[in-house]
Amino acid sequence: MKITPAFIRNELKQVKDPEIPTISIVDLGIVTGIEVSENNAIHITLTPTFAGCPALRMMEDMVKEHLGKIENLGEITVKTSFETTWTTDLISDEGHAAIKQHGLAPPMRNCAHISMEILEATSCPYCDSNDTKMKSPFGPTLCRSLHYCNNCKQAFEGFKPV
């Protein structure tokens, strides 16, 4: 049986971000390379979300572990490379929905020129109100900011656009 990159990509949809377990690493946009060589050897390339993200090595191991369970695959190698710069624009629409499902505000699109004003305009993941206040550009993990919704009186976290 010949394994295709599309098959592998589909399999990797089952590997979830350890910090946001509703989103797959594929929808997060960090899988930047899938190569299938002779004997169905698989070479996966991941790009880091944040340079200091402690989940990165864990995700490498999770990819190896998941693919390791599939029959007919040859050797599996996973490497991390900065060749493709990860930005939140690489998160798919499905990924946005998954982030929201986890109770986080998805990152705004096209935020190459991020500013405090843009962050202030984050809409509430619970009631969709735009009447929110940013409390801090830093949150409990490197990818999150802290906000408060004036409409539903709920504190929430946002996925930071980068």
Binding site: A51, G52, P54, F82, T85, I114, M116, F138, L142, L146
Partner: protein, 252 residues
């Protein structure tokens, strides 16, 4: 000195600055004046240490020892960090001013390095640039608020700025073979970087109701890049490497 040595010198000083300031930032863990600031300084510490690791990995590719060995087994004279980053955290006013002065310099450094002819460095610079942008936004928000707060907050910020200024100028200590890096379009050089930095930080500080020290008093504090450090660095290193020194294979 050949161009590889010049490149290593650049990478070492960047990585060491990140690692040491990362450690200093982590000292605010549990001590921040408000919870959000505790979290902010801890997050920035994590960013900086992560960035330093990737820079040490680039050095590893150029033949230096691996990241852990380089980070945890050198003594103060083998470090290339600037004096600014090794100073103790002091009060929150000093830590904020240092964070402001340092992170705008980093931001501009990474911005310039995004187009470096040395591809591996350009790639990480693109990544770090987006992260450090948040650090500068955080710094500027607080410097502005406290500069405009009340007389006490303004004077504390002003005193810290006066104290930190010459240390900050010391970040731009010229490297021994910078011409090579400039000629090969690897890096724009410290002098050009300092000029960009002054253009950015001076208007922001003035907008925050703070006064830039008289130019006649500017006297950059150099030495860090060639291994001459303040007495504060070695105790920091001893603390940072305590676990590694007991058990180099310690892991979690």
């Amino acid at each position: 000195m050949n161009n590889i040595d010049a490149l290593k010198e650049l990478l070492y000083k960047m990585a060491d600055d990140q690692l040491i300031l990362g450690h200093r930032n982590s000292e605010w863990n549990g001590l921040g004046p408000i919870l959000e600031e505790d979290i902010a300084f801890s997050s920035m510490a994590q960013d900086k240490m992560g960035q330093s690791e990737h820079l040490y990995n680039l050095l590893n590719q150029l033949g230096e020892a691996d990241a852990d060995t380089v980070a945890f087994t050198r003594n103060a004279p083998q470090f290339h960090c600037s004096h600014l980053v090794e100073l103790p955290i002091g009060g929150y006013d000093f830590s904020l001013i240092r964070h402001f002065l340092f992170d705008f310099a980093e931001y501009l450094r990474f911005e310039a390095l995004k187009t470096s002819a040395y591809q591996p460095l350009a790639q990480v610079a693109k990544k770090f640039f987006g992260e450090v942008k948040y650090h500068t936004m955080h710094a500027n928000t607080w410097v502005y608020q406290l500069g405009h707060g009340n007389e006490e907050s303004n004077s504390k910020m002003q005193e810290s700025l006066n104290f930190a200024w010459n240390y900050a100028l010391g970040m731009f200590e010229p490297g021994p073979a910078e011409e090579m890096l400039i000629n090969e379009n690897i890096f724009i050089g410290e002098e050009a970087l300092q000029a960009k930095w002054l253009e950015v930080v001076i208007p922001l500080l003035e907008k925050s109701n703070l006064v830039i020290p008289e130019q006649s008093s500017w006297a950059p504090i150099y030495g860090g890049r060639i291994g001459n450090h303040t007495a504060h660095l070695q105790p920091l290193l001893s603390e940072m490497t305590e676990v590694y020194s007991i058990d180099p294979s310690a892991d979690w």
